[in-house]
């Protein structure tokens, strides 16, 4: 896939709250689906998600039955602040990804920097290119 040219004007998409039709909500409050990039390198599959407002301590990355769930909590601003104008909603983030068995599930790494989550999913050894050794007879 070709990436958009650099230096283009940034035209964002609005955050979409997750509707209850996407499954019954199990937590109180509004949740948004974060915008994600998913790409492959030779070694890994990488998921990058925008989760502004989530502190590293409020992030949860769970893996259960090959389903990777990413959840982040966002604190409401100071209650003394009176809202004057609103363009974005404040709420948590959640999104699920189903992993294939081609992922080495024990080697998954996640980091959160400046509101951007990066999850690195190493490909299983069976999929990596390898050298075949020829044994002498």
């Amino acid at each position: 896939m070709t990436r958009r040219k650099e230096k283009t004007e940034l035209v964002p998409k609005e955050k979409q709250p997750i509707s209850s039709q996407a499954g019954e909500p199990t937590r109180p409050g509004v949740f948004y689906s974060p915008a994600v990039d998913i790409f492959q390198t030779e070694e890994d599959l990488v998921i990058v998600a925008d989760m502004p407002g989530v502190a590293p301590g409020d992030l949860n990355v769970d893996l259960e039955d090959s389903v990777l769930t990413v959840t982040g909590k966002v604190d409401e601003p100071d209650s003394d602040w009176k809202l004057r104008y609103r363009e974005y909603g404040i709420g948590g983030y959640t999104r699920r990804f189903t992993l294939s068995d081609k992922i080495d599930q024990s080697g998954i790494e996640a980091k959160l920097v400046n509101g951007v989550l990066t999850v690195r999913l190493p490909k299983a050894d069976a999929l990596k290119p390898r050298k075949v050794l020829v044994k002498a007879a």
């Binding site: 896939m1 990436r3 958009r4 650099e6 230096k7 283009t8 004007e9 940034l10 035209v11 964002p12 998409k13 609005e14 955050k15 915008a35 994600v36 990039d37 998913i38 790409f39 492959q40 390198t41 030779e42 990488v46 990058v48 925008d50 989760m51 502004p52 407002g53 989530v54 502190a55 601003p77 100071d78 003394d80 602040w81 009176k82 809202l83 004057r84 104008y85 609103r86 363009e87 974005y88 909603g89 404040i90 959160l112 920097v113 400046n114 509101g115 951007v116």
Partner: protein, 145 residues
């Protein structure tokens, strides 16, 4: 000169939407998210009596790429969100996150003190505290007998 506002009644749905918006305005339920359409970064504005607070969601930007300027009544956010090109050889399955430059000016309505602005960037959210100008703060007036 008289300014006439005419609404041609050519689409019933358009007309209904207009009324709905009017009613929303009356009851304070206006859908502000419409304001944000196509503008980056999305902002929320608060008032704590002494200052205006502007929050902007700009995840993944580096502070070197962000430029904040202010006058007594306007705040300008300029910057660029660059794609992460540290790994050259990658094939995308999904690309929802946008990259590019932005330049946005916010009218504050009331004068602020541009020398006392405080800004911090935490977890991808930019918080700018703009203290109101001393002469613009509400003050108590005592009535003399």
């Amino acid at each position: 000169m008289t300014v006439l506002r005419t609404h041609r009644f050519n689409d019933i749905w358009q007309e209904m939407n207009r009324w709905q918006q009017h009613m929303g305005d009356l009851f304070g339920e206006r859908d502000y998210s419409k304001n944000a359409c196509g503008v980056f970064p999305p902002i929320n504005t608060y008032d704590n009596g002494e200052s205006y607070i502007v929050l902007a969601e700009i995840p993944g930007i580096s502070l070197d790429d962000l430029d904040i300027t202010a006058t007594a009544t306007q705040l300008t956010l300029k910057g660029e969100r660059s794609p992460n090109n540290d790994i050259a050889d990658r094939s995308y399955h999904r690309a929802e996150r946008d990259h590019g430059s932005f330049n946005r000016t916010i009218d504050l309505g009331q004068p602020i003190d541009p020398d006392k602005i405080d800004a911090r960037f935490e977890n991808g959210v930019l918080e700018i505290v703009l203290p109101r100008a001393a002469h613009a703060l509400p003050r108590q007036i005592t009535v003399k007998n």
